[in-house]
């Protein structure tokens, strides 16, 4: 801590350390990590339940649900990855990878 700091700033830094050190110690304990794991699982499970209910509602109305859109996006991404892979293979053959452009 620089010596020429005003008193109020020194006090804030001391206070921050007084609170911060025990907090940092707490968030490095197994108890904390186990709690975060549990909270994450509960949140996912709750999200899954809500998603299931809303899916049934949308499907009853003959409309696509969020999960359908997600599945569609995943499939599109798979197709796009395959296309990218093929275009890379073509680039390998034609050695077309020396594109230049100024960016900064």
């Amino acid at each position: 801590m620089p010596a020429n700091q005003p008193l109020w700033l020194k006090a804030v830094h001391r206070l921050e350390r007084a609170i911060g050190e025990p907090v940092e110690a707490a968030v490095r304990t197994d108890t904390y990590f186990d709690a975060v794991t549990k909270i994450n699982r509960v949140r996912r499970k709750a999200g899954g339940v809500v998603e299931g209910v809303s899916r049934r509602v949308w499907h009853t109305l003959n409309l696509p649900a969020g999960t359908d859109v997600r599945r569609m996006r995943e499939q599109l991404a798979r197709v796009e990855r395959r296309v990218t892979q093929l275009s890379e293979e073509v680039s390998e053959v034609t050695d077309d990878d020396g594109r230049r452009s100024r960016v900064g």
Binding site: Q5, P6, L9, V12, H13, E16, R17, I19, G20, V23, E24, V27, R28, F33, D34, V36, T37, N40, R41, R44, R70, R73, E74, L76, A77, E80, R81, T84, E88, S91, D97, G98, R99, R100, S101, R102, V103, G104
Partner: protein
């Protein structure tokens, strides 16, 4: 004894305080409104190679007097502009000003298309092709390969896995090998806790927010002290600019490709394979001792993201023992890119080591 203040000093002090108060008010308004953001990654550069979202940038900042070129492989979790944060506080700018030819292998911002990117994709596909492009650009047969954080792990694996790797020097900056020493950063991924798939979202990647939370929780209250320090220095344009640039980078994480994340969790965190000195990559075993080139293991002594204990095994595992050197630097994880210590110690010592292991070019290149 109470110090006496003569009237001239008193007036000067009042003037200074009034002036600073006005500057504080002006900068405070700018800060709150989010205007006047500093320009980051400002060293002029051009893209010389591109595959998917990966790009190889060549920096142009004066005469190139030394070879081979320096190719920096950035990490997968953060933005590469930390190494070129702002003019006057940039490793890239410093190295180029010292006469080195600097390239950056930047991974961009991964999305659904990158979810399948595994370590093999980076080590066996992107890095060799980017290095070939750097050699083609410069006409140099070799490179100085520098990896930052996880980029260092990939650089070391590449240098060890490829018999024909054209690596004269291998620089590992804050490169973790012993993941048991990574502490809180990886504790959630240990056996019996979170499954990596529980952190991967619909895009197939670990969202940037999850990574930010991981870093934030390392020191959740320091932001208060930082903001107080900012308030005190709010009159100082340069301080405010540096603060904003750093704060922007600290929040600016990128999604982590799912496939590579699964490997990192299983192989690096749960099995801690890198401490054995070898690992399976694709269809072969890679022995880190086979890494080509002179090895510089650069670590920051107060790094709380990749603590020195996680980095130290480099000195007994990577490359030829006779060609390994260690560089201990003051400061934290970002000392490689920014900060007072970076400008005074890190950048000069890095440049010095690289130049000592490079050749002076017969014909300097503009």
């Amino acid at each position: 004894m109470v110090p006496t203040l003569n009237p001239i000093d008193l007036v000067a002090r009042i003037n200074r305080d009034v002036e600073r108060s006005l500057l504080r008010a002006r900068n405070g308004v700018r800060y709150v409104r989010g205007t006047h953001r500093p320009k980051v990654g400002a060293t002029p550069k051009e893209v010389v190679w591109r595959r998917g979202k990966a790009e190889l940038w060549r920096y142009r900042n004066g005469t190139v007097r030394y070879g081979p070129p320096v190719v920096i492989v950035h990490s997968l979790v953060s933005r590469s502009y930390i190494l070129d944060l702002r003019p006057g506080n940039s490793l890239v700018e410093y190295l180029t000003a010292a006469g080195l030819d600097v390239f950056m292998l930047d991974w961009g911002v991964p999305d659904e298309l990158d979810a399948d990117n595994d370590l093999e994709r980076y080590v066996d596909f992107y890095i060799p092709r980017a290095l070939a492009a750097a050699r083609r650009e410069t006409g140099q047969p070799e490179v100085t390969l520098a990896g930052y954080c996880l980029g260092g792990v990939m650089a070391a694996l590449y240098a060890a896995a490829h018999e024909d790797a054209p690596v004269r020097n291998l620089i590992l900056m804050a490169t973790p090998l012993d993941f048991d020493e990574m502490g809180a950063m990886v504790a959630l991924l240990r056996e019996g806790r979170l499954n990596p798939d529980e952190l991967i979202d619909d895009t197939g990647n670990v969202p940037a927010d999850a990574l930010y939370s991981g870093f934030y929780m390392l020191a959740p209250t320091t932001e208060v002290a930082q903001k107080a320090t900012l308030l005190e220095h709010l009159w100082d344009d340069e301080f405010v600019e540096g603060f904003q640039a750093m704060a922007q980078w600290a929040r600016d994480h990128v999604p982590f490709p799912g496939a590579a994340f699964r490997q990192l969790s299983e192989l690096f965190v749960r099995q801690n394979v890198l401490t054995t000195g070898s690992m399976r990559l694709g269809d072969r075993r890679v022995d880190l001792a086979n890494a080509r080139g002179n090895v510089l293991n650069a670590m920051a002594e107060r790094d709380n993201v990749v603590p020195p204990a996680a980095v130290e095994p480099v000195m007994r595992l990577v490359g030829d023992p006779a060609r390994r050197e260690e560089l201990r630097l003051p400061g934290g994880h970002v000392t490689f890119g920014t900060g007072r210590g970076a400008r005074k110690v890190t950048m000069p010592r890095m440049a010095e080591w690289i130049i000592a292991h490079s050749d002076e070019l017969a014909e300097p290149e503009e």
